[in-house]
Amino acid sequence: MAPEKETLLEIQGLKKYFPIQKGFLRRTVGYVKAVDDVSFSVKSGETLGVVGESGCGKTTMGRSLVRLYEPTDGKILLNVGDQTLSVTELNRQDMKIFRRNAQIIFQDPYASLNPRMNLLETVGEPLLVNKIAHGRDLEERVKEVITQVGLRVEHLRRFPHSFSGGQRQRIGIARALVVKPRLIIADEPVSALDVSIQAQILNLMEDLQDQYNLTYIFVSHNMSVIRYISDRIAVMYAGKLVELGPKTELLAQPKHPYTEMLLAAVPRTVERLRGQRTVTPGEPPDLTRLPSGCVFHPRCKYAQDICKVEEPKLRALGPEHQVSCHFAETLDLQGINSPHVVRVS
């Protein structure tokens, strides 16, 4: 029985709405509800995988957590030592403490680096801005962290254009790591990389996690990557959190119809089933015109009348498993059966 892990981050009722402005006077006519009332907590040292398809809000949520977008509503609580920082309410001073503890890695290794800053400047900047180090000391710290991510000290004065995609992603990781944060939000960190490089970066991230006792919120649309890297998985759809549970359980026996649909759509690789997948019609909804009741009901094969009218709340189905579905207790959904996975009865 593993020891109870402490909670590092708690998100309560997070919302991020983008106003739609039309007309000459730029009146607000509606909102894109990109993240709509999302709550969950993240334990120290774990990897929480956040999965969902385009428009589900996972990237917006990740960026809202570090206040790259200002949340519209909700609380983000980060436990640092004895303190609990309420991230949305921090002043500039305290934001600095926050930024030393929570960093982000981006998807696009080409867009996320300043082309006019060399490796030393790029990875050194967080140390300067947070007044952690400068001069000689800074250079030493930068050398240490870039070596750890597999880059060479000889390249300190090179610029982004002379690095490959995989190397640039390593630079992004080094930059996030150099302040020794507790939490790293990784927003699709391997999606833009070649297949043979993805594995290098995933393994690197795992090793760094052990070494630095990092906590990851790993955002991806790729279910196979999420399966590989996560301890727990959060599934998002149209701005809502629809299911959250331990990886093994969630994959073997999902509790939300959307999770079931998502898993069924991934082509299998084990021999007998190779290439097989289940096709379901429909697309995610327009975020400016969400369906009534449960946002998933138009695509859900189990939908009943109540689903069209009443929005299900996220509720606990077990000590670790949460779902928002009116019929979570009664539905027997299909997951992925793998040799290491035991179907939880």
Binding site: S196, M223, L262, T269, V279, P281
Partner: protein
Amino acid sequence: MANSQNVLVEVQDLQVYFYLHEGVVRAVDGVSFQVRQGQTLGVIGESGSGKSVSAQSMMGIVPSPPAKQIGGKILMHLSENGAGYRVVNLAALPPKGEEFRRIRGKEIGMIFQEPMTSFSPVHTIGDQISEAILLHIPNVTKKEARERTIELLRRVGIARPEERIDAYPHQFSGGMRQRAMIAMALSCNPKLLIADEPTTALDVTIEAQILELLKELQQEFNMAMLYISHDLAVVGGVADEVIVMYLGLVMEQASTDELFENPLHPYTKALWQSIPKIDGELTRLAPISGSLPSPFAVHRGCPFFSRCQARIPGVCDTARPPLVEVTPGHLVRCVLYAGRTANP
């Protein structure tokens, strides 16, 4: 000329080099394969493998200059009205000439990863698809072309096609645009559809829909497909036969079943072990070490040498290994198999 294996297109020793300021990129360096009528050939490769340039050569759309096709043939079997067929070497035709224009669009259709590359943003979807029909199919009126376009849009799963036909590409979602692109590629009943990473930018549930649609259309139109992707799992579900490309060369070729059950080339094996999977045992990924060499590098021997776990210095890096048929239908380019042939 006998066509016992129903070959539709045969690529022979294709070589396409890019002459750039910094040097020469040997994008396709002696590639051969066959696409059979009604069948799907999968092409697996990463960046720099030459998979896209090979496909673009078949359509005559490789930017030349800086590219130059310095060798090889692309033999397409085109049916004549009435009996039999003739063989055309697409590689010998001027890409911007009359004959290639007649073939491109009519006999071969192509869909891309990014649907916006196929569509003009300032014309409606309907106008663009109808244009292709009017260009290639004789004796068709504008009205008939429009009707056919509506039917095509309906067939590819676009709801309310009689309204959507007058929409602009930016008014469609990603999945819908991809469907519209398929409709355009199929508008003249081509014998071959080239799909270059068509679902890479799409969500997995939409990808599943698109692939199912392609399979249905293939059967309906008796169409061959060249499916290019870096995603092994997807190719495994779509292709009858697969070739694996690396840095401009075919490294392995086999039926899909054979390639997945019995991969031989170290690159194929390494690729499979390095990707996360949705099922099967959950073990630590084994990445392929190193990274792609510079595209300007010239390899005297095997281009995979620098990253290969099974490499033999002095052997693999001195001469390019030939493509050898190890068992019937299974070809490998690797010195480890050079001594074994199907017919001793």
